[in-house]
Symmetry: C2
Subunit: 462 residues, 2 copies
Amino acid sequence: MAETSSDAVVAALTESLGDLVITDPALRAQKAQDRSYHPGEPPLAVVRPSSTEEVAAAVRICSLHNTPVVPRGSGTGLEGGSTTSAQSICLDLSPMDQVIEIAADDMYAKVQAGVMKSSLNTALQPHGLMFPVGPGVDASVGGMTSTSASGTTAVSYGTLKENVIGLTAVLADGTVVTTGGITKKSSAGYDLTHLLVGAEGTLGVITEVTVKVHPIPETAQVSIWSLPTLAAATELVVAALRSSLRIARVELLDELTIGALADHNGMTFPVAPTLMVEFEGNDADVAAQFAQFSALAGTYAATLADQATDPAESARIWQARHDALPASLSLIPGSTPMISDVCVPISRLAEAVLAAKQDVDEAGLIAPIVGHVGDGNFHVAYVLPPEDVETFEKAKAINQQVVARALEAGGTCTGEHGIGSGKVTSMAEEHASAIPAMLAIKQALDPQNIMNPGKVVPDTGL
Amino acid sequence: MAETSSDAVVAALTESLGDLVITDPALRAQKAQDRSYHPGEPPLAVVRPSSTEEVAAAVRICSLHNTPVVPRGSGTGLEGGSTTSAQSICLDLSPMDQVIEIAADDMYAKVQAGVMKSSLNTALQPHGLMFPVGPGVDASVGGMTSTSASGTTAVSYGTLKENVIGLTAVLADGTVVTTGGITKKSSAGYDLTHLLVGAEGTLGVITEVTVKVHPIPETAQVSIWSLPTLAAATELVVAALRSSLRIARVELLDELTIGALADHNGMTFPVAPTLMVEFEGNDADVAAQFAQFSALAGTYAATLADQATDPAESARIWQARHDALPASLSLIPGSTPMISDVCVPISRLAEAVLAAKQDVDEAGLIAPIVGHVGDGNFHVAYVLPPEDVETFEKAKAINQQVVARALEAGGTCTGEHGIGSGKVTSMAEEHASAIPAMLAIKQALDPQNIMNPGKVVPDTGL
């Protein structure tokens, strides 16, 4: 029987990388998609490299065979960024789990792409340092970097964009580039680091990441505030951001989320638009900030529902926020999520959330809303019952409306989840004038269009 | 007489843009170079647009005539980024001086590229807001963006990279792109904003910039500390950065700078390695931080030389720091500066500064040293007497040694001044593995190589 070209690429990979190349059907099926509703097809093979050189070898072979390469971190993506096609190779970077360097005095850490955020923090903790940026779910540093992720701490520590200072990446022809460096700043040359952050593997496979790390604060205090209206909640946040307060985190949870958390986590707070607010610093500083915020909160008729400085109790409260998605999914057994991730100027947040809520209610959907309100970023989590095409289509339509409304308000179709395959059309609409330049860059760096094709930018049709 | 091709481009520009096109020899000579020692040749003409559309028209015509376009802000560059060649057109963006929008609640401002930092701050002040990022000298927002500038506040507010959220730019074919947006974060598509920040007009002409703005702090306190040694100074700064203190600014001045300031500004401090430290916040917060820092400073044998919270007195002290360069130049009448701008990991700063000092002393040069020590960025200001080739060559050699040593220490050849024409070779050495990708991007976006050719990246020889 003649060897097909798919056989050929797998054979060549196996010859080069041996048992790092896995064709077991169960593993291929498992690595075909992320946590979202976007369907994938099992790839030709899963390659599990543990070094940049092995990634380079794999990409070089895929380039020779004109075979798509889909890099994958921990697989927690929500927009299909790591879904594979039947003719592609999944590059599973999770074996790249080494913390390469912790430079405590210079406050950076260099890790392989597959290192999980939790592992990095475990390694940093003895140095009194932390890497606070990222989603509630544990995720790989490479994956977070590739999607330009952020999470609850972006309001104070920034996103991955502000925290990645250097990268190692494998380009489409298998060459290895190092970008940026280990210094806190540089004006030297084109900022390839930021070009790769958020490119979701479409311009190169990120294999190593250097991130800024931060001192662990002496004290952190979380407080829970119930607000009379959503508008009052966003107005309070704007006032706080414009004051001398330094807000470490501020999260919005809607009534439905509060209800879901009561069922799922036993966290019972008044069913109202709710803010979770955190201050950091030393004891006196945190107490002073909390007092200042409390006075401000009073003027917006906010009432204090709970507060904690004890680390275990704080962690329990924050876990509730991070469990918002599973709690929401538990509202319908067996459900999967579709999630809006728009970001708008904060002054437009209340109207955007209220309009989304109205859409959801009118369509009879179940879709709790949470928001990184200090950034103007909010999520509508459409809970999709299994095999329910009608609800799926309704959710998709509302998701599109939410995005359209965000773009009208000067916002973006994705604050932190990335484009993947799910938001390509929205991205092209949002950045219409810049698409030709994006495609020119894609073509320049990946002329065969083998790097995670079909993701982020509209397909060039090569 | 036959029309030369230079005549043709000027004629076409004039036909399109009328008296925005100026061929007056005095103006052309004046716009031929920046504040550095890098020589320029008077361009064919100076075009002074006041809108993006006029920039686009000019670039389109230059593209048709294959004529280099050199954008220029306030001309305060230090690496020849805006020097013109005899066959080029200078695009003087200083007439683009309109503040387009101040969104106080959403804390961003959108300005034309020629708006000066001081003008932006004047416009922001009534809103209780400020744009704190940038060099000591007043400069245009577009110019600062193009060089990825920073200055004394980078340690707390970041550089232009962390503060620019969106751009309008004219690409090499005259098309207009808008990148980024007005939200605090986005994961939507390739980060063209950061690709253009620091590209010094080699990939496109930045015509509008959207920046984050920040609340004016209630109180700011500057204090001056004399240290026994340079190493003690950097160790104190590392300890402070790793503590719960939030340092707003921390600057290092060497003995020679302190001496020059005494002569030039009448600021008399003990002649010793000196730190200027600033804390911001409300009164109680600033007092608490100052007390905490004072205790820490004592353990490094630092002594307090001065301090101020009064805004006028603070401004006077900070003006001294911003006058470090003119004060240094006043050491030799009629001199011009050459300035090293390396950035190293902070743990390597003391050795890097000491080695530079030794080089300078051995060569018998006059070259005060100041540093944005919280970032590991320092400047050696070689004071060049007029028409003194020997000193110039000595300074150039030492500058190269300072850069080489910084690269060996994992540093960068430029923390904030950019590459211009002066650091192209150093940049290519620093980012050797990334040069092919940078050139591929340059070629993709500027196939004729008309956008500020010869700057930032090695010439493609097109």
